[in-house]
């Protein structure tokens, strides 16, 4: 349960004399973290801008005239985000922002190589993303505020999911109805729904995890929790899947499914949920395969793209050619031919990386995402309270699963479903949503640095197995021998 905030008697506070203000020097660890963040970020962006120069050099003999402006622009954007962290989350983890900056800068360079016009739009979206980042850090001052409004977020999340289905508001692009058109602006509210629904799931699971982790109904040797508590989950789950299947957005359905299963598992520490989740997924997949033509096409092109290499399989086949011609170290930036792949700047951006920078470049991108996820899970592990813990894990899982789904898709490990490669792919809504995720993770990380010292002062720390890894209570100081 969330403890209601203790009412503050306003006139009594007004009575209190205003105490004198003193400047306190920042803690050394804090300043070191921020300095590291700044150095890493600038290094990352100088590197990606160097890559951008290489792309331009492949076509023209001279360095592009706007190179210094671009370098100043990207570093300026990064510094804005960095200063916001300094001001609003000074104790936060120093690796997240530079890793995201690298991916964004890298995405910009790849998109610029594929389509100059898209790159310009992407740059604007990156600026919007940084604004969203700063606003999120500024508005969400305490992560437990989000926990309190869980049902509001559920409502908003579901609303965001169904928004594109409204006639006159929604628009169908590339066969998927996930867009909302507002004047000149197209965006995918589903990207926002991801974050909103993860807030709800984290808050709900924290509330009910004890009921969910103790089974009361036995099915064979497996104890299932009371359907009363599982029901809302299944409902939300099924509804989001249904909506997305109607919108023909298989990638997001898969993403939601995986994220919710992972969160259920983390909240309850019961491996059976992974099994149940996998079973539900397999069942759902079979049903979807029977019911929907486009699912059948996806699967058959995945198993054997060659007979349809000129039609449905064209993208996938071209993607494989791209990886093949890229080889170990790639053709070189600007020297490959990745533009033959349809939608290369969004879904197939990793194929372009594979062609021009080869296995070495592809592994680097995967490594950066892994480090990003590693930092995210580290923040989750360090969180003392259950809600931030689960929330951080859920947000990180979004990024991780999304990366797996799209890289797995374009390399033909799993059937192709269109999602963006976080921070790298062209796509405004996705970029902005990812920056919001980043800001929330940094907020939790900053809270950790304080709460960690304070110990489990919160009301909700007692309880189920996986959440009790909190530091020893502050009320039991280490015994000192006399």
């Amino acid at each position: 349960m969330v403890v209601a905030p203790s009412p503050v008697v306003s006139d009594a506070t007004a009575d209190a004399p205003s105490p004198t203000r003193i400047r306190v020097p920042r803690r050394r660890a804090t300043t070191r973290r921020r300095r590291t963040e700044l150095l890493l970020g600038v290094f990352a962006l100088v590197t990606t801008t160097f890559g951008y120069a290489l792309v331009q050099l492949a076509d023209a003999p001279d360095l592009p005239p706007d190179l210094w402006a671009i370098l100043a622009g990207v570093i300026g954007l990064f510094v804005v985000a960095h200063l916001a962290v300094r001001w609003l989350a000074p104790d936060a983890d120093p690796t997240l922002l530079p890793l995201a900056a690298f991916l964004t800068g890298f995405g910009f360079l790849v998109v610029a190589r594929l389509d100059e016009d898209l790159a310009r739009v992407q740059a604007v979206w990156a600026a919007v993303g940084v604004v969203a980042f700063v606003v999120t850090l500024a508005v969400v001052r305490r992560i437990r505020t989000l926990e309190r409004y869980r049902y509001t977020f559920l409502l908003l999340g579901v609303l965001a999911l169904v928004l594109p289905l409204f006639p006159g508001l929604g628009a169908e692009i590339n066969g998927a109805r996930l867009w909302v058109r507002l004047g000149p602006l197209n965006f995918q509210p589903g990207e926002a729904a991801k974050v909103l629904l993860v807030i709800f799931f984290a808050a709900y699971l924290v509330d009910k995890r004890e009921m969910l982790s103790t089974g009361t109904r036995w099915v064979g040797r497996v104890a299932l929790p009371d359907p009363k508590y599982l029901g809302p989950l299944l409902l939300a789950w099924g509804a989001s899947l249904l909506i997305m299947v109607r919108q023909k957005d298989l990638g997001s359905s898969l993403l939601f499914f995986a994220v919710f299963a992972a969160m259920l598992y983390i909240a309850t520490d019961r491996g059976s949920y992974l099994l149940i989740g996998f079973g539900l997924f397999a069942g759902g997949a079979v049903i979807a395969y029977q019911l929907f033509d486009h699912v059948q096409t996806r699967v058959s092109t995945w198993i054997d793209p060659w007979p349809v290499a000129q039609d449905e399989g064209f993208q996938l086949v071209q993607s494989m050619f791209a990886f093949g011609s890229g080889g170990f170290a790639g053709a070189g930036l600007g020297l490959g031919n990745p533009t033959t792949i349809p939608n290369v700047a969004t879904d197939f951006v990793f194929s372009a990386v594979g062609e021009e920078l080869g296995l070495v470049g592809g592994i680097a991108v995967v490594a950066v995402v892994l480090l990003l996820c590693g930092s995210g899970y580290r923040i989750a592990v360090q969180a003392a309270r259950p809600f931030p813990k689960l929330f951080a894990a859920g947000l990180t899982t979004i990024i991780g699963v999304q990366t797996f789904v799209i890289i797995g898709g374009v390399t033909r490990v799993i059937p192709l479903t269109g999602v963006t490669l976080p921070f790298v792919s062209y796509g405004g809504s996705s970029l902005v949503a990812n920056f919001v995720i980043l800001a929330l993770l940094l907020r939790i990380s900053d809270d950790n640095a304080r709460v960690r010292v304070a110990g489990p002062a919160g009301a909700a720390t007692s309880g189920a197995p996986p959440m009790t890894t909190s530091p020893p209570s502050a009320t039991a100081p280490p015994a000192r021998p006399r």
């Binding site: 503050v8 009575d15 803690r27 120093p94 530079p98 020297l335 470049g361 480090l371 110990g455 000192r480």
Partner: protein, 151 residues
């Protein structure tokens, strides 16, 4: 530009990317090694160096006028309030609660926690809403009583 030069520059680019990865990994290792928790167990990190318990920090009263200069030593934990059981008794401070706050140590940190007092506890002029770390020179206010942190 000749293709050989571009290929060379491509490797420079990839090398820079991997250098970035290396730097990040180094920072991650540093973050992981940083003490997440205060060293538990008797005697701190070195059990052989057993010292007599001495004051970990001192609170020195700077206001109100009548009590300036009073000192309270903190070894493990003290409570502050109007109540008679507190280590720092805030007599006649009608803005203080009976058990107003506690100041305690955790490892190397000195912390203050407001015990749901009516008028709050302030550190350097800011009302605290969670357990807050104190540094030397910080100024804490309970009710109308103000203390300096010395350690």
């Amino acid at each position: 530009m000749p293709e050989s030069a571009l290929t060379l520059l491509k490797f420079v680019f990839l090398a820079l990317v991997y250098l970035f990865l290396f730097f990040v990994v180094r920072v991650v290792v540093r973050e992981l090694r940083a003490p997440v928790l205060a060293p538990a167990g008797p005697g701190g990190p070195n059990p052989r160096r057993v010292e007599a318990p001495r004051a970990f920090a001192v609170l020195q009263v700077v206001a109100p006028e009548a009590r300036v200069g009073e000192r309270v030593e903190i070894t493990d934990e003290i409570t502050v309030g109007r109540g008679g059981g507190c280590a720092l008794v805030l007599v006649d401070d009608h803005l203080a609660s009976r058990v107003h706050a506690r100041v305690f140590r955790r490892g190397k940190d000195l912390l203050v926690e407001d015990l749901e007092s009516s008028n709050g506890t302030f550190v350097n002029g800011r009302r605290i809403d969670r357990t807050t770390r104190l540094a030397r020179g910080d100024r804490i206010q309970f009710g109308q009583t103000v203390c300096d942190v010395q350690r």
